[in-house]
């Protein structure tokens, strides 16, 4: 099984230096793009390869690039911004790529920037990722010293600067438009769309925002070609992806696997199944802001549409496992507290609805709940649903709650009717 994304990650070294990276064919994709291909051709390759964004929404990366206005009368300043904010609870895939193989990302950035003819790229890095910051800074120096960055990359007409920006740390900074505001030094509040960042992004200029993992796929597409890339997957979605599992599994971790790998394979094979004494009760397939799925969904493949059909989202592809000794109500409370705290405070339903959600859940757990509170919670999940709030944070926050109400309703009710000791609380 080919593992292009993690091939340079090896147990015997802290991270891949430039030499390590180049020894396995690193920067060849960049060379090909810049010396052999026109920007539009690079866009087409990535589009044809079928790469979909790994930041959660799964938008076609090549298509996104092709929507950037690039005619002669379009704004000549364009930006590429790398979303390395990774604050989704239970998600740690970008971290691995950043810490272990920074040049892979840098090469991806150079190719993407070339494809949209951006001369400035920003890496917006989660504040707590200190190690990644060090290694990225080092790798950027290495790349610059080789002439891969700066004026006239590879002596071509293309120039690129990459700026590493370490965030002050808010979950909402991962939302691409809040990220742009934060990068501009403004409050990290999302922006209205339209206009999309592709039209008016950073400093009002056309901007592409891509996830770290998304960009890490790009060098390989360029180096090995579209067909090779498409051949990696086991489903309609293409390529490989970092899938993870956390919770009471035997080996929590992260594995590069083909798109379409079944959840059962991830949990049972790669994560080694549940720890002894625990049974699988359910799981969030793609991070904290995705709907719960049940053991009956284990055979669903990790592909965007299949998971959607099962009632959840692929999200970041990092599974959070709920076992039979953890209370789903408390797990949901924990998540909602996170979201309530991370709400940016801009729109009413999220700002005031999430704290209410938390209050209700706390009341329920404290034995002060009422049965009608469950209707209220369900009402809030609708109220904070997609389209009703200003950005996707609140609808994401509602996903684990709405599915918990659907699948684990009796756990909620037991608290309310006073038999909470029956809940397998740990």
């Amino acid at each position: 099984m080919e593992k292009p994304l993690t091939k340079n990650i090896q147990p015997d070294r802290a991270f891949a230096t430039l030499a390590d990276y180049e020894s396995t064919g690193g920067y060849l994709g960049m060379r090909k793009a810049i010396t052999d291909l026109q920007p539009k051709e690079v866009q087409q390759w990535v589009k044809d390869a079928g790469l979909r964004g790994r930041g959660g929404a799964g938008f076609s990366t090549g298509l996104k690039w092709s929507l950037v206005p690039m005619d002669a009368d379009a704004p000549q300043v364009r930006y590429l911004v790398v979303n390395a904010d990774e604050m989704e609870p239970g998600t740690f895939k970008d971290r691995l790529l950043l810490e272990k193989d920074p040049h892979q990302l840098i090469e991806g950035i150079i190719i993407a920037a070339y494809a949209i003819q951006a001369t400035m790229a920003y890496i917006f890095l989660r504040g707590e990722y200190h190690l990644a910051a060090q290694r990225l800074a080092y790798a950027l120096l290495e790349a610059r010293s080789k002439g891969y960055l700066g004026k006239h990359v590879l002596d071509s007409g293309f120039s690129l600067e990459i700026v590493l920006h370490t965030s002050a740390g808010r979950y909402i900074c991962g939302e691409e438009t809040a990220l742009l505001n934060a990068l501009e030094g403004k409050r990290a509040t999302p922006r209205a769309k339209p206009p999309f960042p592709l039209i008016s992004g950073l400093w009002g200029k056309p901007t592409v925002v891509n996830n770290v993992e998304t960009l890490c796929n790009v060098p390989h597409i360029l180096q090995y070609g579209v067909e090779w890339y498409q051949g990696l997957a086991r489903c309609v979605d293409k390529g490989t992806k970092l899938f993870g599992a956390s919770g009471r599994v035997k080996y929590p971790g992260l594995w590069e696997l083909p798109m379409g790998t079944s959840i059962r394979e991830i949990i049972e094979e790669h994560a080694g199944g549940m720890r002894d004494g625990y049974k699988l009760r359910g799981f969030l397939p793609g991070g904290a802001s995705t709907d719960f799925l049940l053991p009956e969904h284990l055979d669903v493949g990790m592909e965007f549409d299949a998971i959607a059909k099962a009632g959840s989202r692929m999200g970041t592809g990092n599974i959070i496992v709920l076992d039979d000794k953890t209370c789903p109500v408390q797990m949901v409370l924990n998540l909602e507290q996170f979201f309530a705290q991370e709400s940016c405070g801009w729109c009413t339903p999220c700002r005031d609805g999430l704290p209410w959600t938390v209050t209700l859940l706390k009341d329920i757990i404290a034995g002060k709940g009422r049965l009608e509170d469950l209707d209220r919670l369900a009402g809030l999940t609708r109220m904070l649903g997609p389209g009703n709030t200003f950005c996707a944070l609140a609808p994401g926050a509602m996903e684990p709650l709405q599915s918990a109400l659907k699948y684990f309703r009796e756990d909620f009710e037991r608290y309310i009717v006073g038999h909470y000791d029956e809940v397998g609380v740990v």
Binding site: R191, G204, W346
Partner: protein
């Protein structure tokens, strides 16, 4: 145009706006918070939700925010669908989870947009059982209260304060449901438009602190349409009274002038009306007399006994009062009460407005400008509301860019996003730093002569047939040519100048520039110092110095001074001599001042709040104000004092004066349209000044007299001092308060506009008296450059919004904001004098003996050879503006300068 369907009915509407604005324009009720008609949409509050259907078949539809949804042809919408209603009501419920529900003790109560919207959505029952988050409040200075617990986080305050008004010290702090709208620490809000927060905030977070001191509910206030008297712009206001005391001023919407906003001087300057310096009884030889008749007969006796009588008018008195004086004393004996400089400047301005052939724009038109040059003004201080309009004009470049990117112009945040490096050019040439410098493309600081020279140079770059100044520095030359080229490229360039520099050449240079600009949509506007400077000048009359000569020659022995403190306009020596030589001096005024002290007969004048009149603003728009409440004690309108001693009873009515003004004075002929406002508007019943819910009417005077006194009669205006009457037939421009069913706050204005932010239905108030025509020759009297003379400085008055204007400076809250009494010095001059900021410095008049000791303050942008003093402060009254003085460092121990010796 677009055809849209809302709840099954079809409407033809504009397609360049959003659904919320459209629904409101159509007269529908749809709740909103974060949207503001002047500030566009940001989609934060989620209150304006409606259902949008895909097509004719779609029955479910999709919830969208009306304020964020562009109007498109064939769109189908529902406001009343259950899903949308439910969402709106649930949204209010969420907003309310932390709201204290303290309406009974909240000063917003009764005119609260949050109350209105809550009732509108039908949310009545509170299901939230949790505790509420609380905040600390801040002391924000003399104007504004802060009660943060009431905040619903609509973000309007910061959007207004920072984005719209250019403020910096009000911010959103904190996150999630702990967002906090305040300053980084307690302290006075610095922006000159902070008072608008009172109306912009939909709840009781920001309320009027001056109103708190004598609070009454909106429904208990008596109100009449009024005009601000504190500068020459003529903003429309709605002052409110109770118990014979003026309680507050709020904005009165005007589609062409002030729109939704006032400046803080206009909002908080009203304190003078309640001042202890008010003259409320006639005085003869400084002895108060009670009976009006005694005063009247004394006044008549003086007139009859006099050899001849001259009248001195006033730029802060109404046209009618000035005209009555002119009628009383005769045209040949009427003096405008302006000193030579003021007279020349204002006459030049009127001449340019009339015959210069360049359009004199309203504030709204100013907001359309795509390049602005300000010559010799710090508009924030000399015509404050104009500065706010100029800030909006600077957005036109980003609007143009947005259009090419297909971003709708009402998408406020998206457009501001573009703003960073796209802004229409603004150039400011002024004496020193101005409050608009933060958004200026380029600034120039120089003495008035040098500002004028730069102006002439700009005109010359635009059109080389205009005269050019010689000996311009290369940097001035290149600045002039870059300004000229930007003005040349603009489609709607605007030149702003005015009287602040007291320099004719500055005004003339402004005209040369405007004339030389090729665009036919160019505009030229002048700021003028007082509320009726333009009206008085159009009326025409002689200069103040000529009045002095009359008395000096012994040709006249009797003087009537109308609302004019001559000591503000001429040297103390000259005024003293004038008033002492005249055998009889009668003064009509509302506040004590140095001139009223010298009156043998002092007649108490009603203020704008207690009388009627017409004022002409800097644009040339004549607007009426009406008494809010009857004048107390013996005070009455100046025009009434003057006409009381006239033989012809015809003059006893105000409308007669207005129409006589129009028929007698050619420049005021169009005023005739407003002369019959009383009869036209009444058509049977009068408009009540007291709202339908006015309470306590039968009891409010019970401590004085048990039976209810009858209402005072008002024979002069369409309004009654009572609750009786009807407002239904009144044009919106004559509505005392803005109020509509379900809409108790000032935001009810949307029910009275032709469309959102458009003109008032049946027209905005006022008549433009001047429309540009003709053309004047180039001015070619270019001054030589100002060269400081060693050891000599020139007194340079610098207007200040808080303190310079005569009436508002008597308002206690304004006084708290008055700048330090100090003189400004260039740092190099300060060095030569060996003084630093805070050191006392002795000023001696070059020609005279006057000395004054005052603190120095260093001002880096002030040119050498000038000393800046705040215009109009009583502390500086003994100094003659623009005269030469010498300076000397004073002994620091001697001085406690909080008490400045005069």
């Amino acid at each position: 145009m677009a055809r849209i369907e809302i709840d099954g009915r079809f409407y033809d509407v504009q397609d360049n706006t959003n659904v919320l604005s459209t629904c409101l324009s159509l007269g529908m009720d749809l709740p909103y918070f974060c949207w503001h008609p002047a500030m566009g949409s940001v989609g934060a509050c989620r209150q304006c939700a409606v259902i949008q259907y895909k097509d004719a078949e779609d029955t479910r539809g999709r919830l969208v925010m009306a304020c964020m949804t562009p109007v498109m042809n064939d769109m189908r919408l529902s406001i009343s669908s259950e899903q949308a209603r439910r969402f709106r009501s649930d949204n209010i419920e969420l907003l309310m989870t932390n709201h204290p529900h303290d309406c009974p003790v909240c000063e917003e109560g009764g005119e609260c947009h949050l109350q209105d919207m809550t009732v509108m959505t039908g949310h009545t029952f509170r299901r939230y059982r949790g505790s509420k988050r609380t905040h600390n409040n801040q002391n924000l200075g003399p104007f504004i209260n802060h009660e943060m617990n009431r905040c619903i986080a609509c973000y309007r305050c910061v959007r207004f304060y920072n984005d719209y008004a250019g403020g910096h010290d009000l911010q959103v702090l904190g996150v999630h449901n702990n967002v906090y709208f305040g300053r980084f620490e307690d302290g006075t809000l610095e922006n000159e438009f902070s008072g608008n927060l009172v109306e912009v905030c939909p709840t009781g977070v920001f309320t009027d602190k001056t109103f708190s001191a004598h609070y009454a509910r909106k429904w208990d206030l008596q109100t009449a349409p009024s005009i601000c008297v504190h500068c020459g712009l003529g903003c429309n206001t709605a002052p409110g009274e109770r118990y014979g005391e003026l309680r507050r001023i709020i904005n009165r919407y005007h589609g062409a002038v002030n729109g939704y906003f006032l400046c803080d001087r206009g909002r908080f300057g009203y304190g003078f009306v309640n001042s202890s310096k008010r003259i409320l009884k006639p005085r003869i030889d400084n002895q108060p007399i009670i009976a009006i008749e005694t005063a009247e007969s004394h006044f008549r006796k003086l007139l009859n006994a006099a050899k001849s009588t001259i009248g001195i008018g006033s730029p802060r008195a109404s046209l009618e009062a000035n005209f009555a004086l002119r009628e009383l004393v005769g045209e040949e004996n009427f003096f405008l009460g302006l000193n030579d400089t003021e007279h020349t400047l204002l006459n030049t301005i009127i001449d340019l407005m009339r015959h210069g052939g360049i359009h004199s724009p309203s504030l709204r038109e100013i907001e359309q400008a795509d390049a602005v040059l300000i010559l010799g003004e710090d508009v924030t201080h000399s015509a404050p509301r104009l500065a706010l309009s100029i800030r909006q004009a600077l957005r036109n470049a980003s609007f143009a860019m947005a259009q090419t990117m297909h971003i709708p112009l009402w998408q406020d945040a998206a457009i501001r996003q573009l703003r960073g490096n796209v802004q229409s050019p603004l150039f400011i040439a002024s004496i020193c730093a101005t409050r608009l410098d933060d958004v200026a493309t380029n600034t120039y600081h120089g003495s008035p002569e040098n500002v004028a020279r730069l102006g002439f140079a700009i005109a010359h770059c635009l059109d080389d047939s205009t005269p050019a100044p010689f000996a311009l520095s290369t940097s001035e030359q290149s600045l002039a040519s870059s300004i000229a080229s930007r003005l040349k490229q603009a489609k709607r360039p605007l030149v702003v100048s005015g009287t602040s520099c007291s320099c004719l050449a500055v005004i003339q240079a402004a005209y040369n520039i405007a004339k030389a600009i090729p665009s036919k949509d160019k505009q030229l506007t002048f700021t003028v110092p007082e509320c009726n400077s333009v009206g008085l000048t159009i009326m025409g009359g002689k200069r103040l110095q000529q009045a002095f000569e009359r008395i000096d020659n012994g040709l006249t022995d009797n003087v009537i001074i109308l609302e004019n403190d001559l000591y503000r306009r001429a040297s103390h020596k000259a005024v003293d001599l004038f008033l002492e030589t005249a055998a009889h001096v009668s003064v009509i005024d509302s506040l004590e001042n140095k001139t009223t002290e010298k009156a043998q007969l002092l007649l108490p004048a009603a203020t704008f709040a207690e009388s009627e009149g017409t004022l002409v603003n800097n644009e040339g728009r004549a607007q009426r104000y009406f008494p809010v409440y009857p004048a107390t004690e013996a005070a009455r309108g100046s025009w009434q004092w003057l006409t009381s001693v006239m033989e012809d009873p015809h003059w006893q009515h105000h409308d007669a004066l207005t129409s006589a003004c129009a028929t007698t004075l050619p420049g005021l002929a169009t005023l005739i349209q407003s002369a019959s406002v009383t009869e036209d508007a009444i058509a049977g019943s009068k408009i009540p000044r007291q709202p339908h819910r006015y309470s306590g009417r039968t009891a409010m005077h019970a401590n004085i007299k048990v039976s209810e006194p009858g209402p005072a009669h008002d024979l002069e205006t369409p309004f009654a001092f009572s609750m009786e009457g009807a407002t239904t037939h009144a044009p919106p421009a004559l509505l005392p308060v803005i109020w509509a069913p379900g809409w108790n706050s000032n935001q009810a204005i949307n029910k009275f506009q032709e469309e959102i932010s458009g003109h008032l239905r049946d027209g905005d108030t006022g008549i433009r008296l001047i429309e540009a025509s003709g053309e004047l020759p180039w001015f070619d009297d270019i001054p030589t450059a100002f060269e400081p003379e060693p050891g000599l400085w020139r007194i340079t008055p610098l207007p200040n919004i808080f303190g310079s204007e005569e009436l508002s400076q008597q308002s206690p809250s304004i006084r708290e904001r008055q700048p330090l009494v100090c003189i400004l010095l260039n740092p190099m001059d300060a060095e030569t004098l060996a003084v630093g900021t805070g050191d006392p410095i002795e000023i001696r008049e070059f020609a005279g003996a006057t000395t004054l000791t005052i603190h120095a303050q260093i001002e880096h942008t002030l040119p050498r050879g000038l000393v800046g003093v705040t215009t109009g402060l009583p502390e500086f009254q003994s100094l003659q503006a623009w005269t030469q003085i010498t300076l000397k460092k004073a002994n620091p121990e001697l001085q406690d300068l909080s008490e400045v010796p005069l």
